[in-house]
């Protein structure tokens, strides 16, 4: 992966992520998050994971974020723009510092560790290998996730439905 592409994608990603957190209008946040996710999909593509990139586009950008945007539009919030941040500013500063501490704790020594690139980085796998691994090594996780999704589908409907159904047919 060429550094130019990586750095430009990273900077865009960081900027979009910051905008997600800092934008006062939730809808703008959501749109920026969608952009961040599309950007991340490109990073995945550059990391030779085209399938994951496509799934990222389809699942995150195409489905999850659309859902967020839809819900936000349905709510039609007006008054929230004034007070986007909760709690008093002093505590928020502490919160910022602790998030910064987390970032610093990991990144402080990160570059002093040895490089692992010698392990043959950047091998491209075809999708068949991906599928084979998914259905052999991770079959249990796969099945469990299927069950989880079913549960979630039922649970989400049970949570948000109005009594008596939405329409009678």
């Amino acid at each position: 992966m060429s550094p130019t592409i990586f750095y430009s994608l990273s900077i865009v990603l960081v900027v979009f992520s910051l905008l997600v957190v800092l934008c006062k209008n939730p809808l703008h946040s959501a749109l920026f998050l969608a952009l961040a996710m599309i950007d991340l999909a490109f990073i995945f593509f550059e990391l030779k994971a085209p399938f994951i990139a496509a799934v990222q586009l389809m699942v995150y950008a195409g489905a999850v974020m659309v859902m967020f945007v839809m819900v936000l539009m349905l709510f039609d919030l007006k008054e929230d723009e004034e007070s986007a941040f909760s709690g008093n500013p002093v505590i928020n500063v502490f919160k910022f510092l602790s998030a910064g501490l987390l970032c610093w704790a990991i990144s402080s020594k990160l570059f002093s560790y040895g490089d692992v690139a010698g392990l043959g980085a950047g091998k491209e796998f075809d999708i068949k290998a991906l599928g084979t691994t998914l259905y052999t090594k991770y079959i249990f996780a796969f099945e469990a996730l299927g069950l989880l999704l079913l549960l979630i589908a039922v649970g989400a409907v049970a949570l948000s439905r109005t009594k008596g159904g939405t329409h009678d047919s």
Binding site: M58, A61, V66, I127
Partner: protein
């Protein structure tokens, strides 16, 4: 991507050409749609400007260009302008990843005193191993344009139209994806070019480890997956928001849906986006189920050999082949586009709850059943039982 200047420039030209191709087919389609609807409804349609009313399109374009710029007050100006542009993107990107013809093979040659190595140019914007997954991913982004347009207009009808469109797209994406799984199981690949290659020659498949050949049918996906094809085609109608699923712009209920507040060039861009979607849908249908750019029974090599028989060099034969097969694919695509138009002027519109019921309670279960049955059949086909 290419390594040297020649390759890069060809690629840029390619992408540009393909995008322009998509944009330029729109006027043609508008003409077909208007004349076609007139034909279906026993009218004349536009027939004054130019032969058969063909230059009506130019007049329309001029009209669009000179319409008044208009932004609703209290609307979100940036999003309002961004939406139509974004509407163009998914269609264009998706169309660019579909192979429009056989790849062109260029032998090594001398130019500007340098030797240029042998090249292989795929007749598509960019080659992707994950082809169809990418197309699905990209086309699911189309919802943003509608949502942004609806929300930025600050208009209840627009908003409803956008929400409807969005819910509809998300719902039908499931049926669409599942309808595709069956054919993907049979082809065993995500790559469009490999799919097209699979469909060469007469219908032949393995059944319980023995090869069966049906000489009078081409080896097209439609014969393996008739149900999948029908489901995919229906889902495509919903994805493109075309009648009978054009609820988001139902005139009687929502004025014009999410583009109520749009006019002029911006409106035109939404149109281009919609036709782009149709184009992608038709191209996918052709590629998946109707042999792609290949002629029935005739393989790409055979066409190449036919042209080479005229005394062309290998490079030239390859180029001629590519363009010939391109015409083949476009014939197929145009046929499907005609079906889109035909349906629009034939079928009435669904009610919204009927639409959702159809998507979730009819098409999704059928697509699931199709997937499971196909998986079983593929096992039966590939396993040698006796």
């Amino acid at each position: 991507m290419g390594a040297d200047i020649f390759e890069i420039s060809i690629n840029i030209i390619k992408i540009l050409v393909i995008f322009l191709l998509m944009v330029q087919i729109v006027p043609l389609l508008v003409w077909v749609e208007r004349r076609g609807s007139a034909f279906i409804q026993n009218r004349f349609g536009p027939n004054r400007v130019g032969p058969l009313g063909l230059t009506q399109l130019l007049a329309d374009a001029v009209k669009f260009l000179f319409k008044e710029e208009f932004v609703p007050s209290k609307g979100k100006k940036f999003l309002f302008y961004a939406a139509p542009v974004i509407a163009l993107v998914p269609g264009a990107l998706a169309f660019a990843s579909i192979p429009l013809s056989a790849p062109i093979l260029v032998d090594a040659f001398e130019m500007f005193g340098k030797s240029w190595g042998p090249y292989r140019f795929a007749f598509q914007g960019f080659e992707m191993g994950v082809g169809i997954v990418f197309v699905l991913g990209i086309s699911s982004l189309g919802a943003y344009a509608l949502l942004m347009a609806g929300w930025a207009s600050n208009n209840k009808y627009s908003m409803y139209g956008a929400l409807r469109a969005c819910a509809q797209m998300i719902s039908y994406e499931l049926a669409l994806g599942l309808a595709l799984v069956g054919i993907l199981l049979i082809y065993g690949t995500f790559d469009f070019a490999e799919m097209v290659a699979y469909q060469e020659g007469p219908l032949s498949f393995f059944f319980m480890g023995k090869e069966v050949i049906v000489p009078f049918l081409p080896n097209w996906g439609i014969f393996y997956q008739p149900l999948g094809a029908v489901l995919l085609f229906c889902a495509m109608f919903a994805e493109t928001n075309r009648t009978p699923f054009d609820l988001p712009e139902a005139e009687a209920e929502l004025v014009a849906g999410y583009h109520t507040e749009y006019g002029g060039l911006k409106m035109l861009m939404f149109y281009i986006g919609e036709y782009g979607h149709m184009l992608v849908a038709s191209a996918l249908m052709a590629t998946f189920y109707f042999g792609g750019y290949n002629l029935p029974f005739i393989s790409t090599e055979a066409v190449n050999a036919f042209f080479a028989g005229f005394g062309f060099s290998a490079t030239k034969a390859s180029i001629v082949t590519a363009f010939a097969l391109h015409v083949v694919l476009f014939t197929k695509i145009l046929l499907f586009l005609w079906v889109f138009i035909w349906v629009r002027w034939t079928l009435p519109r669904f009610r919204y709850d009927q639409l959702m019921d159809l998507g979730w309670k009819t098409m999704l279960p059928w697509a699931l059943a199709n997937t499971i049955i196909t998986a079983a059949l593929v096992l039966l086909m590939r396993t040698e039982w006796l």
